[in-house]
Symmetry: C2
Subunit: 560 residues, 2 copies
């Protein structure tokens, strides 16, 4: 506002006068950003070189969160308009610079993927059209497109006949799935359907959707509902249990085996026990690509148990689902075709920008259990997608999935997936052969866990009795936490960390590094440099002195 | 795939070889779309002239949905990659051409707004960064930014002291609100909090979040829960009641008065009756900008009743919330500052692209009722936004709200809002003074309803007895439906239609046109042309012969 303006500025900058007049407001809706304006130039820079933009504009070294918060500490909506150019300067210096370079080859700590270049101009088309997928009147061709994308995903999972898809794809009374903002809402949607179908309408009961959960339990004679999943289940399942009124305590956690897969024997026992206790099993949830370890549950056997107990079988394949596109590794998900519903995120291994989750249902009438209508939209018999979705207004993200399916193709995805899995296996061998690292989970897909444990300590751990193991692991947890934080702060590379119980250590929960292999630009050299950096950080005095404590523990133990 | 390619194509098109090789896949992640490629050219076209792009590229005349579906009827994910240029041609011809021009000045039927030009390049920055707001490790500066945006919105609604915001804005143990994909998830979030707070932990009960709704009712001694809202409540409230396990039948609908506002006397009676029946009132919901009529409930009086019954008071201001930015009209929402929670959509009257809803809570500890954690993210005490949100992974849409707050400013919004309201009032006068239209709701904000009723029939309706009124209205419903469909199909202008009961007609439900005034480019001439078109359509034989039926009804009645 204090900036002096030349007439040229005024012509090129829609907000050049930066005063709130009706004329200026019309300008921001009608006059585009000039290509030579500050924002126009940034726009061109991103278009010309996305990876360069991200590497150059995001500062590597971590700034403290407290310092960043100071730039976002005003709490009044600004009274007067700001120049677009000034705002752009702020965004570049204060926001972009201190964002996270999630597509850097060394950023392998979370389920973030780089974006193919064509996603940027296609996203612009999507944003510019500003369609609202809740109803045909504000989306038109986007509605059949979304139904097609859901149909393609359904076929990938269930491989039904051509007749099936011809009959159901654009049928107003059917829905093969629903689009969501992400995997969490997809899981909630699936369990919402499962809950309503379990407590379905019957004589004198209009169904849970109408009468609610307590009335549903009474009508169906259950004491409560439960949800069964392995201890590696995603946290969204607990959230779903809360939202749906089932309660987090009723998410029954089944222990996993040495490979982090659900123990099928214990699963059957759990279900039998719940049945004996008069508990309605809302769903058994199988995991296809556990968030923490990447493992796939034995879906085939789980499907059998679900059938045995007549319960909904949901598969959370938010991460691992796209593995079905690889003829090499699709078999790892055998049994998924028996699931009643499957969650798959497009913003993960389908390389679509953030905000695209999907859930498909084997039975094209399943979503009828949550169908809803309104007078001004979503009239019964219409093809409005909002009839079945947990969300109302939402953007046309399905377009970007449609684009990726066509431009990358099944074969393209196969290559991407195969090399991610192969790279994870290569990294596992690298870790395993390094004297100072312990491989915690051998990757089945493209996620793995490990930790830094100097060779000498590894030898001691292997033969230590459980109480000494426990004490050593507690010290190692501090090492893992410290190294992970230091590495993140240094900003060159990033691995995440989690904590789970290990059969190997008498089910003690330990802290471990977690890496996710999804960036085609990550090379074996990148991976080697991550280990090298961790070794170097561990050699610093702080970590060394923590490790010393372990020697003391061992000495004390051997003197007993 | 059948296209011949010159070497130039291969250089400019990342997918020019369109075969699935690892090299080609690297290219799509590393080589940008060339500016002279098909997609590059479209990108430039949008950037240079958004409104021109939308007007030129979207075909006006409606194509049948069945015909459009044929272009989206394949159900197999394509096996081989497609050229980006070919895919772009498809998108332009089959998707963009048959989308809805939601920002056309004559498209006044739904809550769609045009986008300010700066939104396009800023959206590109957001998409390019691909941050995930669920946790700081994948969003960094976006997290404080989102907290700031929620704080600004909180202050707009609640106007607490500076000390309050300094203490709470970036406090890891507090949250002033939560960001959602839209108003529906915002409303569900608010009612989720309200439900969990009502059935809070107490002696021997760990709280609803842990133990579930049936156990919560038992512990608190209620027979069931209910949600109270006027008959004009948004359909998302019924969906929320279903999702949350409360049941749609337990959404208690209170009749509205002549002005479509909740009847406060009946609201109190309803609450008293529920209390007497031992029903826990989950929330009273006030409406600030009804979806169908735009009316604002008497929030102040409703807040008093909520307090009297000790119940959560939620205000659904998804549409009307931004009216608070206008010093002229903010007073219409008096009482909103007494709400426990308020939903406001940014993708409506804040002119942000689709996918941005928010809900703020008066009590910064309210969201603690739905707090959740996980080992690898969302650790207790962290500032990860995912601890409080119904969604998990989600994009940095808050950036676009932040941008709009700064570039448009409070004063800019005031101008936009004032002229929308003023335009709605002018349109109401235009309708009212036209002999052949009946104004159904006088606009309080910027939404109104009317219908086509030839002058002679209006006279008859006014004096007809209820049974004749009913018969005439049923015929008029068919006229309204027919005209609305014909006008939409013609593609020049668009009004929507809804159906609700009218005090004026002994609470008979009638079909009406619905218009939403939110596009600064809509002029009084646009509005006049909409009425002219409806008059012309009504003069066609089809509608004329329906109207004839009314004369027969009147004759029969007068002969009795």
């Amino acid at each position: 506002m204090t900036k002096a303006h030349s007439p040229a500025d005024i012509e090129t900058d829609p907000q050049a006068l930066a005063t709130a007049s009706l004329e200026n407001l019309y300008r921001i809706f009608t006059v585009p950003e000039a290509p030579n304006s500050t924002l126009g130039a940034i726009d061109k820079e991103i278009s010309a070189n996305l990876m360069g933009f991200l590497s150059d504009r995001i500062v590597a070294r971590e700034r403290s969160l407290t310092a960043i918060e100071e730039d976002f500490s005003g709490f009044a909506i600004p009274e007067v308009p700001q120049f677009v150019s000034d705002y752009t300067d702020f965004v570049m210096e204060k926001l972009v610079a201190h964002s996270v370079h999630t597509s850097a080859p060394g950023f392998i700590g979370h389920m973030a993927t780089p974006l193919p270049s064509f996603m940027l101009p296609l996203s612009r088309i999507m944003v510019a059209l500003n369609q609202n997928l809740v109803k045909i009147e504000t989306s038109k061709a986007f509605t059949p497109l979304e139904r097609q994308v859901l149909g393609m995903l359904h076929r990938l999972v269930y491989a039904q006949s051509d007749d099936f898809y011809q009959e159901n794809l654009h049928n107003a009374r059917r829905a093969l799935g629903t689009f969501c903002s992400g995997g969490t809402t997809a899981n909630i949607s699936a369990l919402w359907v499962a809950r309503n179908r379990l407590l379905h309408p019957k004589d004198g009961f209009q169904g849970l959707a109408s009468e609610g959960l307590p009335a549903g339990l009474k009508a169906h004679g259950y004491d409560r509902l439960a949800l069964v999943v392995s201890e590696r289940g995603h946290y969204s399942l607990g959230k779903a249990a809360d939202v749906l009124g089932v309660g987090r305590n009723n998410v029954v956690s089944v222990p996993t085996d040495e490979q982090s897969k659900i123990d099928v024997g214990l699963l059957r026992e759990t279900c039998q026990k719940l049945k004996d206790e008069n508990v309605g099993i809302l769903a058994i949830v199988g995991i296809a690509g556990a968030t923490e370890t990447g493992q796939v549950d034995p879906l085939d056997q789980m499907a059998g148990i679900a059938q045995e107990f007549g319960t909904h079988f949901h598969v959370d394949a938010a991460w691992g689902g796209p593995t079905l596109l690889s003829s090499t590794y699709a078999h790892l998900l055998n049994g998924i075709e028996q699931a009643d519903s499957v969650t798959i995120d497009a913003h993960k291994q389908l390389y679509v920008p953030m905000g695209a989750g999907m859930v498909v249902f084997k039975d094209p009438q399943a979503l009828g259990a949550v169908e809803h209508h309104a007078e001004y939209i979503l009239r019964a018999g219409s093809k409005d997608l909002g009839q079945y979705s947990i969300e109302g207004s939402r953007p046309g993200m399905a377009m970007l999935v449609h684009a990726a399916f066509h431009i990358i193709g099944r074969k393209g995805y196969e290559i991407l997936i195969d090399q991610n899995v192969d790279k994870a296996k290569a990294f596992a061998r690298m870790i395993d052969s390094h004297p100072d690292f312990e491989l915690i989970t051998d990757p089945e897909l493209n996620i793995l866990n490990y930790r830094f444990v100097p060779a000498a300590i590894q030898t001691q751990l292997a033969t230590a009795d459980p109480s000494l193991q426990k004490a050593i692991n507690e010290v190692l947890d501090r090492v893992t936490q410290r190294l992970q934080k230091q590495q993140r702060a240094a900003g060159k590379t990033f691995v995440s960390r989690t904590r789970f119980s290990m059969v190997r250590y008498s089910r003690q929960a330990i802290s471990v590094f977690r890496v996710v292999m999804a960036n085609p630009m990550t090379t074996l050299e990148t991976l080697k440099s991550i280990l090298d950096e961790q070794v170097a950080l561990a050699a610093r005095p702080g970590t060394k002195s923590i490790l010393e404590e372990i020697n003391t523990l061992i000495k004390v133990d051997s003197n007993r």
